[in-house]
């Protein structure tokens, strides 16, 4: 264990999907968490069920960075079909750990790398009796090997196995055997790596939770009071509702065992959005969750919700578009489709979490925004945030009570001095009052439609009434502008260069900014958290001569909104675009900025 670098390493694990590697990788990652290390994981999986290449990236960072590093110190090269390419990924001085049950294909070895074999297939074959178990167990061998190499104690690994599989010793035992085989083999091989060593930090992760962003959204929605949940399966959003299904019963079952929620798998996304609208209109806190293609199908419904002013929440978990694109890769490329979703003039509220606590919080608060503004509200997630395990601060209990917005109940209607008018802007904030169907009052009922309507909800084609309605909707959006989660500004130095990031781009931007600052190019950093853009974003832009906007899309979709909202500073806004589908690495951001600076 002579490595001088402590608690800083990047491991890539290359396997085949459906081969049990998911468990092995999780066990390894959770062991690092248990050790108290700052670490993150990125699961790069294919769009099929079995047999295609998959990679799992683990980063341990002494400096507390969580994004994809982009440089591989250690490659667990357990997939023969990608072996050659995988070896190419490893930085000089790095390690390739491979299954040497059969010899390495010729031409792969290179001097700059350490090739370390562990005969996983053979070990499993010799030691596991049940043939069906062998395929999946093989991947446990590398867990043991890596543990030995980096000094992860087997006690911790055993604990994790117990946490994960609970009271199933039948499952735990063969796993542990294989892990020990790998560990033992490595120990006996005498190989000593000098890449890094891992040292447990007692209490290092104390109080921190480990989960996936989609789960955070699911829990947030439960705390937000979601009652009608409609969904159609689609990667990478399915686990939002699937996790809700798994969890909600605990909190929402009444004395008679009946459900205080309804979750419906619909026949398509047209139904998902429309059911959510029907439910939102009828008084429920309604939501749906989807990804790109589903979002496209929802466009008509989104316009209806906007124009008829029906609250509902749409969680969009971004994946690489356009079209089917790469369903298991990440992007932030649905911004326009959310923000200006549907034909005609629409502008929607979008909440943009950047980590699990904010995913929980925004997913919860989305229902308040939807009710307060009587409009569809988006939560912009992506595959990177949504489907990777990450370690964060715990979820915080919402402090404010649920806000159901301007709803008039029986008593309120009784107290009214003028007739109730559904679409009247009484308060000048663009937000009218509504009643809920079933309200037991003769004046409660009104008629909702996606076509032109007067303040008292009657059909009209009058052109001034129509323009007033469009103006009011815009006013509502402007009201929301000052009510959105404000950006978080990390102003470090006196500099006229700024960076803007949002969502899962935050973490790599933060690291890139620290690197640039360290390199003598200090930058301030603003984390954007919602649309409409808060005026504070405009102030930040005004304060800097150049503002790099880091986005995971090709066309600078957020930059377009920024430029349109702050035309005076449009030219300062420089999109830094990373859209290959992998979570961005800081060096990619730096490289683009360097190139831009060199060019100008």
């Amino acid at each position: 264990m002579g490595a001088s670098i402590v608690n800083d390493v990047n491991i890539s694990i290359a396997t085949e999907n459906g081969s049990g590697s998911a468990s092995s990788n999780t066990v390894l990652f959770k062991s690092l968490y248990k050790m108290g290390l700052t670490c993150s994981s990125k699961n790069l999986f294919p769009s099929n069920i079995q047999g295609l290449p998959t990679w799992y990236l683990i980063r341990v960072s002494k400096d507390g960075y969580l994004c994809r590093k982009g440089e591989i110190d250690v490659m667990v090269a357990f997939n023969r079909t990608t072996l050659a390419a995988d070896v190419d990924q490893v930085r000089p001085g790095g390690i390739v750990l491979y299954d040497d049950s059969s010899p390495l294909p010729p031409g792969l070895e290179r001097d700059s790398l350490s090739f370390v074999g562990v005969p996983a297939t053979r070990l499993v074959h010799d030691n596991i009796k049940v043939p069906q178990l062998r395929v999946k167990q093989r991947n446990m061998v590398y867990v043991g090997a890596v543990a030995q190499m980096f000094g992860i104690s087997l006690d911790i690994v055993a604990e994790v196995l117990k946490d994960t599989f609970g009271d199933k010793p039948k499952v735990i035992e063969p796993n542990m055997i294989c892990i020990e085989l790998g560990f033992k083999h490595m120990a006996e091989s005498g190989f000593e790596q000098d890449v890094a060593r891992l040292e447990a930090i007692p209490g290092g992760n104390a109080g921190k939770i480990m989960t996936e962003g989609n789960n955070a959204c699911a829990l947030g929605a439960i705390f937000g009071g979601a009652t009608v949940v409609t969904w159609y399966p689609i990667t990478p959003s399915s686990s939002v509702v699937e996790y809700m299904i798994a969890q909600i019963g605990k909190y929402r079952t009444d004395d008679q065992g009946k459900a205080r929620y309804a979750i419906v798998q619909t026949e398509d996304e047209l139904a998902s959005i429309t059911m959510a609208i029907g439910a939102g209109w009828n008084g429920a806190r309604a939501m749906t969750s989807t990804a790109g293609p589903g979002l496209s199908l929802m466009q008509e419904g989104i316009g209806l919700a906007y124009f008829a002013e029906v609250p509902c929440v749409i969680i969009d978990v971004g994946r690489a578009g356009p079209s089917t694109g790469l369903p298991t890769r990440t992007q932030q490329s649905d911004i326009s489709a959310m923000h200006q979703g549907s034909h005609g003039d629409t502008k929607h509220i979008v909440l943009i979490p950047h980590d699990n606590p904010s995913a929980f919080r925004f997913s919860c608060e989305a229902f308040d925004y939807a009710d307060r503004y009587q409009t569809p509200v988006f939560v912009m997630m992506d595959l990177d945030l949504g489907m990777n395990l990450s370690i964060t601060e715990p979820f915080e209990m919402p402090t404010a009570p649920m806000d159901r917005g301007k709803v008039l109940y029986k008593e309120d209607l009784d107290a009214l001095t003028e007739p109730f008018q559904r679409y009247l802007d009484k308060d000048g904030d663009g937000i009218p009052y509504r009643t809920l169907p079933g309200e037991d009052h003769p004046d409660a009922a009104y008629f909702t439609r996606g076509s032109g309507h007067s303040t008292d909800a009657n059909y009209t084609e009058d052109h001034t009434v129509y323009r007033d309605l469009l103006d009011r909707l815009r006013r509502k959006y402007e009201t929301a502008r000052n009510d959105m989660p404000p950006p978080i500004v990390e102003n470090g130095a006196a500099t006229d260069i700024g960076m803007i990031s949002f969502g899962s781009s935050y973490e790599p931007t933060r690291e890139a900014r620290d690197c640039l600052t360290a390199r003598g190019l200090p930058m301030n950093h603003l984390l954007l958290r919602a649309l409409p853009l808060s005026p504070d974003v405009g102030k930040f832009v005004a304060q800097h001569e150049i503002v790099y906007v880091v986005e995971q899309n090709r066309d600078g979709q957020m930059t377009q909104i920024l430029r349109d909202d702050f035309p005076r500073y449009a030219d300062r806004l420089r999109p830094v675009l990373i859209y290959h589908g992998l979570p961005p690495a800081p060096w990619e951001i730096i490289k683009i900025i360097d190139e831009m600076r060199a060019a100008s």
Binding site: G225, V264, M402, P437, G438
Partner: protein, 355 residues
């Protein structure tokens, strides 16, 4: 139902001052909506009148009804009945999904869905079929005129093969039979009727309103502007000449006494959610037999007849709210205390995520 109401059946009261009232003390006027903007003579307005009569006579509380629709002349009609009920005129083809969402949010309100043949048989076919598969508790009326009225007369998918446009061009496509579709999709109440036959239609609507589950009424409803000419099989005259009622029904709500003044052999009593359907057979057809229901429809189609009446009924199936095991209080009316887990719950969630 009072004697006066019976006299005024289907008509506005002559003397509004002493207007007849129903068990809720409401007049028929209370069941009306805004003035129709449909064409004079449109079948859809006749169906509206039947809905008004049915609800008035059943003494339904308008506040317990929600009205939903898609887009089309037919889909405008929820605006023309029961102004005291909430209504939602949504997007084209999505009446079924809109109603499903509404039904989940508050299963104590009864949805009346009104749709067109374009709305349900074309753009909305999938959502319509799945609403029935889920057995949503709804009275879903398709105002079937064989054309797209609002977009000026293109054939819809229910237009019969060979029926002609106003210019005489025959329709080459097979017709989609919404009755058959309803049965195979899982609807638990399937009827067909004709806007011009209120005597048959009104009781069918009453029965549908008392069915717990997906009640589909495929109602032929001539479009007097675009599909009422010689050569059209959906013209008023053609329907009149070719309809074949298999039965007529009476719906007797539980608060009334059942009088059996029909020949028992020809009559079946079907217990409903809050009343009884008394069915008078005109042909030998047992509407509780699913296979027979499919067969009679298909046979009638092959003979170019419009079968009307109660085609199929299966009152026993749990509806969507039951399958979803919904709590008694409507989801829409649950309070924060019933919805938001406690701070302790969150703490234990956080704790559970620490390993």
């Amino acid at each position: 139902m009072t004697e006066i109401a019976r006299q005024n059946n289907g008509q506005a009261p002559v003397q509004p001052i002493k207007a007849a009232t129903n068990r809720l003390n409401l007049t028929k006027q209370d069941y009306r909506g805004s003035p129709s903007t449909l064409c004079k003579g449109c079948g859809h307005d006749a169906i509206t009148a039947s809905i008004i009569t049915a609800c008035y006579e059943l003494s339904i509380d308008p506040k317990q009804i929600i009205k939903l629709s898609g887009i089309g002349c037919s889909s405008k009609t929820p605006n023309y009945f029961m102004n005291q009920s909430f209504g939602f005129n949504g997007t084209h083809g999505r009446c079924a999904a809109l109603a499903t969402g509404a039904g989940l949010a508050n299963h104590t309100l009864k949805p009346i869905g009104v749709s067109g043949d374009g709305d349900s048989a074309s753009i909305g076919l999938g959502n319509f079929a799945h609403m029935m598969r889920r057995n949503l508790n709804i009275t879903y009326i398709i105002e079937n005129n064989g054309v797209y009225g609002l977009t000026k007369g293109q054939f819809s998918a229910t237009a019969d093969q060979g029926t002609r446009t106003r210019r005489g061009v025959p329709n080459p496509w097979q017709a989609m039979d919404l009755g058959s579709l309803a049965i195979i999709s899982g609807a638990t109440f399937v009827a067909r009727s004709f806007s011009g036959d209120r005597k048959q239609l009104t009781p069918l609507i009453k029965a549908a309103l008392n069915h717990r589950g997906a009640a589909i009424l495929d109602v032929l409803s001539p479009c007097v502007i675009f599909n009422d000419h010689e050569g059209s099989t959906k013209s008023l005259r053609h329907i009149r000449d070719n309809r074949e009622p298999v039965n007529t029904i009476d719906f007797i709500p539980s608060y009334e006494q059942i009088e059996t003044d029909y020949d028992e052999g020809e009559t079946i009593h079907i217990p409903m959610h809050s009343g009884v359907v008394t069915l008078h057979k005109l042909k030998d057809h047992d509407p509780t037999d699913r296979i027979r229901a499919m067969t009679v429809l298909e046979e009638a189609n092959q003979q170019h007849k419009f079968l009307t009446g109660l085609i199929y009924i299966n009152p026993g199936q749990p509806d969507l709210a039951e399958v979803e095991n919904l709590t008694d209080t409507p989801l829409a009316r649950l309070e924060e205390a019933q919805l938001r887990p406690s701070a302790e719950a969150l703490e234990s969630i956080n704790a559970s995520l620490m390993r």
